[in-house]
């Protein structure tokens, strides 16, 4: 009975994360469509989507250290956070293709192929696709051990996304430094973990 109620609460919270998670995108779109995003609304909307993709990646990566270091177990929300990161990356890329570059493929394709800034961002998005596709129980069961190995790709994706974000501006600003600093910490934790004293799983 208690277990069933807890599952229900978790289920509702899971859906709640999706609903809340899409608020920045909806709010920014609404502002953009009604003239509230300043002189270059497309750029502002595009950057907001990219930034939130990065933020959801950071939250996804924070679940494990929170559990291991602080004993806070939010594992049940990780899938929703990871999928939000994917959807934001997909929206960011779609806005780049449409509102920003106007689907002018003869300039878009060379940029994706040749410009490291764009190539890195595109690669990060592509790496998230198999992770999103396999983020269901069936895939976890079918892939077995390989599921974990496949999902290590998130480390590569977040590293690429961080460099892409740093390359987006002419000089690094404090906001960028803070986000990328968090990513460095979260990836560094994974590298250092084998060296840390092992905690017994609770």
């Amino acid at each position: 009975m208690a277990a069933a109620r807890s599952a229900l609460v978790d289920g509702l919270t899971g859906w709640g994360i999706y609903v809340v998670g899409f608020v920045p995108a909806v709010a920014s779109f609404w502002l953009g469509a009604t003239g509230g995003l300043g002189a270059d609304p497309v750029r502002a909307f595009e950057q907001t989507l990219g930034l939130w993709a990065l933020r959801f990646l950071i939250l996804t990566l924070a679940i494990t250290p929170l559990r291991q270091l602080a004993g806070i177990n939010l594992l049940r929300f990780r899938r929703a956070l990871g999928l939000l990161a994917f959807w934001y990356a997909a929206m960011h890329f779609t806005v780049y293709l449409t509102l920003d570059r106007g689907l002018l493929w003869d300039t878009i394709l060379p940029d994706i192929a040749r410009r490291p800034f764009i190539t890195l961002g595109f690669s990060a998005f592509v790496l998230l696709i198999p992770l999103a596709v396999t983020s269901n129980r069936l895939s976890i069961r079918r892939l077995g051990k390989n599921w974990r190995r496949l999902h290590w790709l998130i480390y590569v994706a977040v590293a690429l996304a961080a460099v892409h974000y740093l390359l987006a501006t002419k000089v690094v600003d404090p906001g960028q430094a803070a986000h990328v600093g968090l990513i460095v910490l979260l990836l560094g934790y994974r590298l250092m973990r084998p060296l840390l004293p092992r905690r017994r799983p609770a």
């Binding site: 002189a39 270059d40 300039t107 000089v171």
Partner: protein
């Protein structure tokens, strides 16, 4: 800002003007912060008057000029120019100003002068981007032009826009406008202009030489290493939907007037 008395000029592009609102709230002026909205929000304490500008170096008559006297002495023209930022957005701005040549003629450049060096004011107490822990670049901001570029009739010192003196965020009280070059060449709030013999440093080139050159001529065929320069987004055009993207023109559309300045030069090497 105060109204300016201006005379028309033949230099005007026949394209819709970018709104005054957009021209004065979407700015790169790192002395007031790195965000586009920072300059309009953080420049309230800046005092652009009284103001003097010193012109020295390899000249017969080095002088310090009061900006308001210059405005009274030299006819202020309206120049409607395209402005193309290296970040691939653009505007059409009705500047008010006078040819840089009019100022340089007053100091009588010597034959040995080959370049012109410019310097922005340093006032950390009035310019928040110049103080604090996070400063994106060394101050003062500096820029430079070859003497023939500086003497070109299209090159102006702007003292106003939309018929009024320059707002602080646009480089009050006096700034450079070189319409065939990327916007970062348009150094703002100028305190010193020096005639020199060798190519002077320019801030963005010193910071990231592989991405920002000395010439910085608008050129759709020479890309920024991180993005294409073939197209640009015109600020305020078509708004949110419909990208407002248009092809970027060679020398920002001023090729007829300025291409001869670079005859025989490799524009890929001299970007």
């Amino acid at each position: 800002t105060m109204p300016l008395k201006t005379v028309p000029s033949r230099y005007k592009v026949d394209e819709p003007l970018t709104s005054r609102e957009d021209v004065t709230t979407y700015n790169n002026f790192y002395e007031f912060g790195a965000d586009k909205a920072d300059p309009s929000q953080n420049s309230g304490k800046f005092k652009p008057r009284p103001w003097t500008i010193t012109v020295d170096g390899l000249v017969g008559k080095p002088q310090t000029f009061d900006v308001d006297k210059l405005i009274a002495d030299i006819p202020i023209e309206e120049r409607i120019y395209r402005m193309r930022c290296v970040e691939a957005w653009s505007m059409v701005i009705p500047w008010n100003g006078f040819p840089l040549k009019a100022l340089l003629d007053k100091v009588e450049p010597l034959g040995s002068a080959k370049y012109v060096a410019f310097e922005t004011v340093v006032r950390p107490e009035e310019m928040p981007g110049q103080s604090g822990y996070f400063q994106p670049m060394p101050w003062p901001y500096v820029e430079g032009l070859r003497l023939d570029e500086a003497m070109h009739p299209l090159t102006i010192l702007a003292v106003g826009l939309y018929g009024e003196t320059l707002p602080n965020q646009n480089g009050a009280p006096i700034r450079l406008v070189v319409p065939w070059k990327y916007g970062f060449k348009g150094i703002k709030s100028i305190v010193r202009v020096s005639l020199v013999e060798t190519q002077p440093p320019n801030s963005w080139n010193s910071l990231q030489g592989s991405e920002y050159g000395f010439y910085a001529n608008v050129n759709p065929e020479v890309d920024h290493p991180r993005w294409s320069q073939a197209t640009e987004r015109r600020i305020g055009e078509s708004g949110f939907f419909g990208s407002g993207r248009r092809p970027t023109l060679m020398f920002n559309g001023y090729a007829d007037e300025v291409a001869s300045l670079y005859a025989g030069m490799d524009l890929r090497a001299n970007y």
